[in-house]
């Protein structure tokens, strides 16, 4: 089928007086990994809950795999897989039973269930835990089992709500690998995250969402580039003269002197400006002995577009920040 796998137009959602989702529109192409990046409380989970039919759509239009969320919720349900934000595994069921239960909920035939369970347990490397109750699994294993469950019915699109929240860095990397593998096998992925690095690392495209609105959408590269603030670090033998020459170049916005070199902020795309700068310096008999071009990070991007840092980027901030912002 042609057309986007997820298409959302002007979606609003209110809880009483509180506007959680304030008119968002976006579309996700088949085969894409698309992220909502934003702080807790930005409206990411509400949007996802509307799309997966857990919340009735109030205003706007959304189609998933060609099915209208409002008109054809059953078809939508049959087209998607979900990994919820919190662990939603029955502690007293085994890995196999968790997947079996899910397959039955979606009315998969017994033979196919059995085959799919074997496939998925080996995909997420939980074969050895097949008959172990989920309460005995580590956090990473639980998450992997949930991903397997989300894939049980071979969905066209997999929704991942904060897939690596609360996992240690090593486990997060493994989770990213699984997500990439799943995507490589053809499943489109919609994920929400408040981790900059996660959105950056995984997504084909990112929407930065804040206060229920999409602030900007683009590839990680585009978003960083729109800042036009690439940073270049240079080392030369004669710093004062280098500085004087650089200050006459119109591509250079700002110059800061460090102990052994100079950091300049650019107005445009650093990858294109850098050769000219080196040439210009060479024309004045200044040899550049070291150079480093730094793209802005997603943190810089978020700061630029929202005017502030992520309210609670749990992994990077002291514990107090994470606690004070907990919405649930």
């Amino acid at each position: 089928m042609a057309g986007p796998i997820i298409d959302v137009e002007d979606l609003y959602h209110r809880f009483g007086e509180v506007v959680a989702v304030d008119g968002i529109s976006f579309s996700v192409e088949e085969g894409e990994i698309f992220s909502f990046l934003g702080p807790n409380g930005a409206g990411k989970s509400t949007a996802i809950n509307v799309l997966i039919t857990l919340l009735a759509i109030q205003q706007g239009k959304a189609t998933i795999a060609g099915f209208d969320v409002k008109e054809k919720p059953q078809q939508v349900r049959n087209s998607i897989g979900i990994v919820f934000q919190d662990v939603t595994l029955d502690r007293d069921m085994t890995c196999r039973e968790i997947l079996e239960f899910h397959g039955r909920l979606y009315r998969m035939p017994a033979a196919e269930r059995k085959k799919r369970i074997d496939e998925l347990l080996s995909l997420v490397e939980l074969d050895a835990k097949r008959n172990v109750r989920t309460k005995h699994l580590s956090g990473g294993m639980k998450r992997r089992l949930e991903i397997a469950r989300g894939l049980m019915t071979r969905p066209r699109v997999l929704f991942l709500d904060e897939p690596t929240i609360g996992l240690d860095p090593q486990t997060r990397m493994r989770m990213w690998e699984y997500i990439k593998t799943v995507n490589d096998e053809g499943t489109s992925i919609f994920l929400t995250t408040h981790y900059m690095d996660e959105a950056d690392h995984l997504s084909d495209r990112i929407s930065i969402i804040d206060h229920g609105r999409i602030v900007v959408t683009g590839t990680s590269y585009e978003l960083k580039n729109t800042l036009g603030e690439d940073l270049i670090y240079l080392e030369t033998a004669d710093l004062p003269r280098t500085r004087a020459i650089l200050s006459r170049m119109d591509t250079v916005r700002e110059i800061r002197e460090k102990s052994r070199g100079i950091v300049i902020t650019l107005d445009g795309d650093g990858t294109k400006i850098l050769p000219g700068i080196i040439e210009g310096l060479a024309g004045n008999d200044i040899r550049v002995s070291a150079v480093n071009l730094k793209k802005p990070s997603m943190d810089d991007v978020f700061l630029h577009f929202t005017g502030r840092e992520l309210r609670d980027a749990g992994a990077h901030k002291p514990a107090t920040a994470a606690i004070s912002a907990g919405r649930r």
């Binding site: 989970s45 509400t46 809950n49 997966i52 039919t53 857990l54 919340l55 009735a56 059953q74 349900r77 049959n78 979900i82 919820f84 919190d86 662990v87 939603t88 595994l89 029955d90 007293d92 069921m93 039973e97 239960f101 899910h102 039955r104 909920l105 979606y106 009315r107 469950r149």
Partner: protein, 278 residues
């Protein structure tokens, strides 16, 4: 036919048999009622009623036999009222999200949980019957094998219908509430009047009018009527009171239980339609 409810049933039965303490306590509890309350009370009642001259020509049953029917009914009531509690935990632990986001129609959650609750009450009812007979309850006395089988089927029919009503109610309350404590409170509030304003453990004949009125509309009384009819018969005396029941009266009792179950089902469907889990 969509057999989605069997999925919910399957999962709840796994849990029932997996939680050994829950399984054993639910089986031992009714036996303990029989062993302690039953024997203690029947010693007292039989002593007190021994001075009452028996009604001539009416078969007499002892108190243990009389109250065994009540213990089956009481156990069914408690098990059914708690049968939906698992839904509250599923909701609070996020497990209900998986089910609500799946194509399974919501009514099937109600059916599934009711079916597993009913299975549990059947297991308990059979244990009480066997244990009661072992203790000396004169169930099915003088019945032929065929009559006994029909009687057991009748008891299970009544028990099953009654349990469905209270399981639907329990499911409706559980899906509507947020806290297990609140649920506990509501269930306790419900069990007291239902249990004590009934003919489960003692005759209602001496009740004040209001209590008698409650006992007449009380589904538990109708369940007890049915169980006694099938286990003892339609004409007997116990604790000095002459009990009679015609087949028509028993059919009416049964229809009342069916009506109660349908009403509670409608209530549950409404509550599930309203329910939202995120």
């Amino acid at each position: 036919m969509n057999t989605g409810f069997l999925t919910v049933y399957w999962r709840d039965m796994i849990r029932f048999f997996r939680f050994r303490t829950m399984l054993i306590s639910s089986l031992v509890q009714p036996a303990l009622w029989m062993a302690f309350f039953g024997i203690a009370m029947s010693a007292n009642f039989d002593r007190l009623t021994s001075v009452i001259p028996p009604i001539p020509g009416v078969p007499s049953v002892d108190y243990l036999t009389f109250m065994s029917a009540g213990v089956i009914a009481m156990t069914t009531l408690f098990t059914s009222l708690f049968g939906g509690v698992v839904l509250l935990f599923d909701k609070n632990w996020g497990l209900m999200r998986e089910i609500f986001a799946s194509p399974l129609p919501r009514n099937h959650i109600i059916f599934g949980i009711a079916l597993s609750g009913m299975t549990k009450t059947f297991i308990q009812a059979i244990i009480i019957m066997v244990f009661g007979i072992f203790l000396g309850a004169a169930f099915f006395a003088g019945f032929s094998a065929g009559q006994t089988i029909i009687s057991i089927a009748g008891i299970l029919l009544f028990t099953g219908t009654f349990s469905l009503g209270f399981l639907f109610l329990s499911a409706a309350i559980s899906i509507s509430l947020e806290s297990p404590e609140g649920l506990q409170g509501i269930i306790t509030l419900l069990t007291m009047p239902i249990f004590f304003a009934s003919n489960a453990l003692y005759p209602v004949d001496a009740f004040p009018p209001l209590l008698q009125a409650i006992s007449v509309i009380n589904p538990l009384s109708h369940l007890v009527n049915g169980i006694r009819y099938f286990a003892i018969g339609g004409n007997f005396q116990a604790i000095g009171i002459h009990y009679t029941a015609t087949p028509l009266e028993i059919v009416i009792s049964f229809l009342l239980l069916v009506a109660f179950a349908l009403l509670m089902f409608a209530f549950a469907v409404w509550r599930f339609r309203k329910a939202s889990v995120t």
